[in-house]
């Protein structure tokens, strides 16, 4: 659980730095003013910086326009998307009703007001000797739980296959290594449209093996789709870690597994952060297959969100839809925000070419 604590620490540090950002901005401005007064910087120089910053800010405003347009919609009254008075709805009508609805009335957290709690039972039939039960309520867990369950399976299974494979590709030579890697690279992007392309084929296969309506299997499926791209990505990252660390560990008397645990994993952290985000998104955002394979009581958030969009016969309850989507995106945003530095350094594709 120590990683939990360190994650919490990281989050706290991030939040503190975020909260104090305005103060830093003020200090920055004060310094600029001071520097200009003292002749350390020319006004032109400061002006250029201000102009560039403003330009960046303006660009941000333009790029994120759809998001705050829709966020404004989520705060407005009524359910309509359009607003005939202008672009944004009247701010005086803003309220949090839609968020209240998502949290307390939709299936986001829990169904029909019952929280319940998960229980783990060992033994039993099925693929795994462990079974999850949702106890304390008749309605079963909310969609968030289903999503988290799927994502957990995807991440755990995905990582347990991606990390060793990436390591092997990066560090070992074995038969057909190049060919397999090449094949993986070919398939990195087929997954995306594939889900639609093979939807029916998938359904028929799943149902003929009796694997429909099974969150665990769905998690596996997402993990499978995430394997080629992420294996390749992580391999690229690992290629840049000097082998000498492993050799040092070996000479230090560490066994293979110890080397992996003590050296490889910590050193690959930025790469792992990147694939964590991608694997997470693979399991978190998909809804077409989930909807086809699952029954309603097992729907994850993504399907609930999609259903919300198509709920009315002809139109979408926009305020709720937007509120739901915002809450849906929040975990990803938090994870990314925490991992930003790692992600930015974990995505370098070998740098300059010769």
């Amino acid at each position: 659980m120590s990683w939990l604590r360190s994650a919490a620490d990281l989050l706290r540090a991030k939040l503190v730095s975020f909260a104090t950002a305005p103060k830093r901005a003020v200090v920055l401005m004060q310094r600029a003013v001071y520097d200009v007064r003292n002749g350390n910087r020319t006004a032109l120089d400061v002006g250029a910086s201000v102009a560039m910053t403003l330009l960046g800010f303006a660009m941000l405003l333009v790029l994120l326009f759809p998001l705050y347009w829709i966020t404004a919609a989520s705060l407005a009254e009524g359910t309509r998307l359009f607003n005939t008075d202008g672009i944004f709805p009247d701010p005086t009508t803003y309220n949090l009703e839609a968020y209240r609805w998502v949290i307390f009335e939709s299936d986001f957290f829990f169904e029909s007001g019952d929280w319940g709690y998960p229980t783990i039972t060992l033994g039993g039939s099925g693929l795994l000797p462990i079974a999850f039960e949702w106890a304390g309520t008749d309605t079963g867990p909310g969609a968030l739980f289903n999503s988290l369950y799927i994502v957990t399976v995807t991440i755990v299974v995905g990582f347990s296959m991606i990390v060793p494979a990436a390591y092997a590709f990066s560090r070992r030579s074995f038969i057909a290594r190049k060919r397999i890697l090449y094949g993986y690279v070919l398939f990195t992007q087929i997954g995306a449209g594939l889900s639609i392309a093979t939807l029916v084929a998938l359904y028929s296969l799943f149902s003929s093996y009796g694997l429909t309506n099974n969150l665990f299997i769905l998690g596996l499926f997402y993990a499978a789709g995430a394997i080629p791209f992420n294996t390749w990505l992580l391999k690229t990252y690992m290629d840049n870690i000097p082998v000498s660390y492993e050799e040092a560990a070996m000479v230090d008397g560490a066994s293979f597994l110890e080397t992996i645990r003590e050296i490889i994993i910590p050193l690959t952290k930025p790469g792992l952060a990147v694939i964590l985000i991608f694997v997470w998104l693979a399991g978190w955002n998909e809804f077409i297959i989930a909807q086809t394979l699952l029954s309603p009581e097992n729907y994850p958030l993504s399907v609930e969100l999609y259903n919300l969009a198509t709920e009315g016969r002809f139109q979408t309850p926009w305020t709720r839809f937007a509120a739901f989507a915002n809450l849906f995106a929040l975990p990803v945003a938090i994870v990314y925000f925490m991992a930003q530095r790692s992600v930015e350094s974990g995505l370098s594709f070998g740098g300059m070419e010769g």
């Binding site: 910086s49 560039m52 190049k178 093979t198 084929a201 849906f328 945003a333």
Partner: protein, 342 residues
């Protein structure tokens, strides 16, 4: 002193993860992933291929097993369908146009958000990739709303305000230039409302815009990564060599990000090729099926026209194209670089 006896068996060496190269046990680490991938991804593709060889009409006839093998008839029919060729060419155009714009937009954003003079760029960078976190179905639906043909659609409102602004400028100029009458040239004004979804090229433009918006975050993080790796000394060497901003950009920055941009382009290009939600949500590939991208075409054949076998054939062709695209991209973009034994 931990030292074992001299004659350690070959087998135990294997088990102990021998550091010596040319042992094939590395394959064992790769196999589980391959099995999982094959059973959930490759197998369905083969199954789809099988369907494409049958006369299946409904999803039910696939699942129920009443379809019969008819050989390559579906493919023959496909190739003689003019809609197939329309879809193919539109899809390629869509991929190409959106890719070019994506690259320019993403490079621009990345450069700006990596610029020394921009304060708070870390936060901006975090914010700028937020679209990545939202599910496509949501953002695309939102974009559909913004692209409404109606006068009160967001973009039409914006254009209307732009017109007002131009006219106001025109008037201001007119007032200042009292000796002649000046009016804003029509070319600078936009005829509102624009039918974003009802014209072929307007809709195409709307697709491209949305696609660019969906893909830029991924490109931006990759380019930012690359930019941060550029050695400062190269810039300085160029400065000392007498190069101005433009030349430094072309000699130092551009080569440094070329490869990552190429990677990102190939990856997002392949995704664009499979774009389904944008045309589907916007106007089902309309108007009049003119913008039916290839996956939409396949989907529609299957579900609206109940031609499942044909649909499978379309999708197989689409997959083949993506595969081919990736193959050449990998080969000539040297995407698998570093695969070479190290």
């Amino acid at each position: 002193m931990a030292s074992s006896t001299g004659s350690v068996g070959r087998l135990s060496q294997l088990r102990e993860a021998s550091p010596f190269s040319s042992r094939d046990w590395g394959l064992l680490l790769v196999v589980p992933g391959m099995i999982l991938f094959s059973s959930f991804m490759l197998y369905p593709i083969f199954y789809l291929f099988y369907i494409s060889l049958t006369d299946a009409t409904f999803a039910g006839s696939v699942i129920g097993g009443s379809a019969e093998l008819i050989g390559l008839d579906n493919y023959v029919q496909l190739l003689s369908d003019s809609q197939f060729w329309t879809s193919m060419s539109t899809t390629w155009l869509f991929v190409a146009v959106s890719l070019v714009i994506k690259v320019f937009v993403a490079v621009g954003i990345a450069l700006l958000l990596n610029h020394a003079r921009v304060a708070g760029k870390r936060y901006m960078r975090a914010a700028v990739i937020v679209p990545l976190g939202f599910p496509a179905i949501f953002t695309i639906t939102v974009w559909r709303g913004m692209f409404s043909d109606a006068r009160f659609g967001v973009f039409n409102v914006v254009l209307d305000r732009y017109n007002t602004f131009m006219l106001w400028i025109g008037e201001a100029v007119d007032t200042v230039v009292f000796f002649a009458s000046v009016s804003v040239p029509q070319a600078l004004l936009v005829d509102v409302p624009v039918g974003f979804l009802s014209g072929r090229w307007e809709a195409f433009f709307a697709y491209v815009t949305t696609e660019v918006w969906l893909a830029y975050p991924f490109m931006v993080i990759i380019i930012v990564s690359a930019l941060q790796d550029v050695p400062r000394e190269l810039h300085e060497a160029a400065k000392v060599d007498g190069a101005g901003y433009f030349h430094r950009f072309t000699t130092v920055t551009l080569p440094a990000i070329r490869r990552p941009v190429l990677f990102a382009s190939i990856l997002t290009g392949a995704t664009s090729f499979q774009q389904f939600l944008i045309p589907w949500v916007f106007n089902q590939g309309g108007p009049a099926r003119q913008n039916e991208l290839i996956i939409v075409y396949g989907y529609r054949e299957a579900l609206n026209f109940n031609e499942f076998g044909l649909s499978a054939a379309i999708l197989i062709v689409a997959i083949a194209f993506v595969g081919l695209f990736m193959y050449f991209a990998v080969k000539y973009g040297r995407l698998a670089e570093g695969v070479a034994d190290s």
